[in-house]
Amino acid sequence: MSRPNARRFEEVVLPHLDEAYTLARYLVRDEHDAQDIVQDATLRALRHFEGFRDGDARAWLLTIVRNCCFTHRKRHRVDRSSVSLTDDVVAGIVGSRATDQLAIESSERERLHAAVMTLPPELREVIVLRELNDLSYREISDVVGIPMGTVMSRLSRARERLAGALGAGAKEAS
């Protein structure tokens, strides 16, 4: 890669690192893995930067980060099975917490965070891309590689679940 290109890469792609890191944190749920993935994704982006014309650099970087996260999950099959186990366990804990003293102590923010983290990955990613990264349905459809109709149905499923978690917490707290 030529130096001017490298400089353009720094100007066009690197400003989106915070959003890339946020997405990775939610998808792999581990600080160190998320750092490794964002670094890896950025290097991949650099290598394919020649092929990137004037498009949406943010959506492009997020696509690569998203794919690296899912590759990471597949590669760590052992982890994945333990993750899905953890999902259930955490969901169980979150559920029982609602009837527990802990629910009153844990803030709404923590409950919301736990609820998002225990969503299945395909729902979690659309929530993060929409609510935190503020992507349009068209952009989410490009990043995730699904039709716009599917973006909408996943978003609605995700929000219903989260509204349920919030509602349960609110009732418990009152």
Partner: protein, 273 residues
């Protein structure tokens, strides 16, 4: 518009993803239908709450520093690619391995590049400078930056006791904009070195401390500043110790850092113990 049609469009309505005329139709229906209006309020509240309360994670400075270092390294790797097939091969391996392999290759390439530069200028400190730069780049890989991570000099300084046969000054330079990050042990030129790590914005600054050896007297004629591929190496001495400062930080800021380090180190050693 029927309630079913409205319900189907509610999420797209909240996300402002409908055509203008569809937005109007939903709005009109919501005005006249209490149950759809309740459903709409729930969705809107959920979305607002998520946006307001979910944690956004800014990329840590260490990650940014690592990425900048690996971009610089990639630049160098590409330049040497015609003469070696190693980086290309490394890329076909799994990502983590290719990253590791590429970093090692690149560290070696930069190490040798640094070496080549230094050879032209001075022979005595050549191995050392190459080693120091390679160590700096290695330190930016995941989990390699610090053995003891602390912003408190009273944690970092004692940590070196018994691990290395020197006690480097560990001044706090926060007030000058160089927060302390921690320390680690490293090997430079075949000897253990005490490394104190600072940051400036997204830039990592490694200070390698080692005893000023007999070689050092020969090296006093060596250049005290070396620039290589965007990295700066600065050499100095203090109280029987020799140090190398390495960073991709710009020259003026690095000069400020060295001035403050020298000043604070001397102040520390002048204090009664």
């Amino acid at each position: 518009m029927t309630c079913q049609q409205c319900t189907d469009s509610l999420h797209a309505f909240v996300d402002d993803e409908l055509l203008p005329e569809e937005m109007d139709e939903v709005r009109a229906h919501l005005d006249s239908c209490a149950s759809c209006a309740r459903a709409h309020a729930t969705i809107q509240n959920t979305s607002r709450q998520l946006r307001a309360e979910l944690m956004r994670y800014p990329a840590p400075d260490v990650l940014k520093a690592r990425i900048r270092a690996s971009l610089a390294a990639e630049d160098v790797a590409d330049e040497v690619q015609p003469t070696t097939s190693t980086p290309t091969r490394a890329r076909r391996l799994s990502p983590s391995w290719s990253r590791f392999a590429a970093a090692v290759v690149v560290a070696a390439v930069i190490g040798s590049a640094a070496t080549a530069t230094v050879v032209r200028r001075d022979d005595a400190s050549r191995a050392l400078a190459g080693d120091v730069l390679a160590s700096h780049i290695r330190s930016l890989m995941p989990g390699h930056l610090t053995d003891v991570a602390s912003t408190n000099e009273h944690n970092v300084k004692p940590w070196f006791n018994g691990r290395v046969n020197l006690s480097p000054p560990v001044p706090r330079l926060d007030s000058a904009g160089f927060p302390l990050i921690g320390g680690r042990l490293d090997y430079v030129d075949g000897h253990p070195a005490a490394v104190v790590v600072y940051m400036r914005g997204q830039h990592v600054i490694n200070v390698f401390w080692s005893p000023a050896s007999e070689r050092a007297s020969a090296a006093t004629s060596a250049p005290s500043e070396i620039d290589d591929n965007g990295y700066h190496l600065v050499r100095g001495r203090h109280d029987g110790l020799e140090y190398w400062i390495v960073s991709d930080l710009n020259r003026p800021d690095l000069a400020t850092f060295q001035r403050r380090l020298d000043a604070e180190a001397s102040r520390g050693s002048a204090e009664p113990r």
